[in-house]
Symmetry: D2
């Protein structure tokens, strides 16, 4: 599930998703809102594996959430039922209480989508932004530097 | 369902959607991929009402689809269960085989989201781009000029 | 949105839903999990209108939820993009902390689906079942007797 | 992903799914329509692995679909974010153009849901029922007998 991808400098976390019936529309292609559900799954697995922070624990024990503040996505080519969509994650920026991720989605090395998303770290009890906790920031920085437990 | 909104110059098509349990996440807010399902519903009703082209007929009789080629969305404030989300549609550009829409989403005049989406007119039989048919282009131009059957 | 339907004895609450692109699969029919999202919407509007209890307030103020304990659904005929699906609600049983609803879905009087669902009243703070509060029970009984603010 | 489960007599195909943010509701539990999306994924992987028929090819090359004609599901206990939900598949019956599957969902051997679903084999070009093709019937019978490429 969690494989890596070399990208010139550093290996990236990659999640493979099967395009399923659930994702596709009457044209036989992935219906675009479904891609955003896949991107959320990528974020969760990236936390689980690359940041070594179980996403479920982040939410339920640490009471921190990562809502998406903005997202820009370009769909270069449609994906179809049965495709194996590989989505790689790159950190573009680490701010105080937000971070920016780039997602590169491809099927057998053919680019399908590219997205840039800004996620905010919030406390789920009051809904307010929080500084990214030091342990997560350190692991984000390691990931950015290409050093993570792949 | 389909009301209008005055915006200085021209009235805009607005679709009201109730924020439902289905849309919300463990934080109690709308989960962001659900907004894109709402935007698709807005596009369908905008075709139905403002362009006077039943979207179901566009797909099933004319065999034309309008996949999203790219989208940029900023979520300014979260929306919650029970909110009445009003999303207005503006045409930003009408190209040969694509058109660009701006969506402005608000709850009781508080801005919640703003999105810009490029949709491509394709033929569903071959998946290839098509020129926007003259009847639809004419109605898009009327809408842009503020004249539509509101 | 909320209309009524005569059924021999008592009028029933009916919610109309447009079958949208979002609901349909590569075969052009409603993908069956989407029907269950529609049934949830029906439950919410039935609370809002027939029981005069805003569902959002039930969840967020009274901290009561209505998870589905079991559901049985028969899909008699497929529904397609553009169909106007009318779903009527009947109370089959009112227990201590659960109630059983029957949903009858049709398009222009052609039966499309029939479902029976058991919902449990729980407290969202501890996840435990609760007796149906007297005010809601009274309105459920009125609904069952055919007397509700339609 | 596809593991097996011994069940007294024959091993069963089991798909493990992570419960994600996407699946959960404001109560923090899996929202019940999401379970049906998971069951569809189970069917697809069961075709892929246990029946050795790529589901995408079934749809796109053989033009056969497997819509759900009826489903009965009991949710015994709620599942939460981060749970590893294992769903096993049993064949209850193989008819002429339909087959009945039983799904048993558990988290670390705690039963969470049990469902029985009748799926119909249809031709996607005319929407009409078709006899289950002999190759698929033979593999379904092998699966039922506990002999499949696990």
């Amino acid at each position: 599930m969690a494989t890596t991808r070399h990208d010139g400098i550093a290996p990236l976390f990659v999640l493979h998703s099967s395009v399923r019936f659930t994702h596709t529309d009457p044209a036989g292609y992935v219906f675009f809102p479904r891609y955003f559900e896949m991107l959320q799954a990528v974020v969760e697995e990236w936390f689980n594996h690359a940041l070594q922070q179980k996403y479920a624990d982040l939410i339920m024990r640490r009471r921190l959430g990562t809502p998406t503040a903005s997202i820009q996505c370009t769909f270069l080519k449609p994906s179809r039922l049965g495709d194996d969509l590989a989505i790689a994650v790159k950190i573009e920026n680490i701010g105080n209480s937000s971070f920016r991720l780039r997602f590169i989605g491809s099927v057998e090395d053919n680019l399908r989508l590219e997205a840039v998303s800004t996620l905010v770290m919030i406390c789920l009890d009051d809904g307010m932004a929080r500084s990214i906790p030091p342990d997560l920031r350190a692991r984000m920085e390691s990931y950015q530097a290409g050093s993570w437990p792949s």
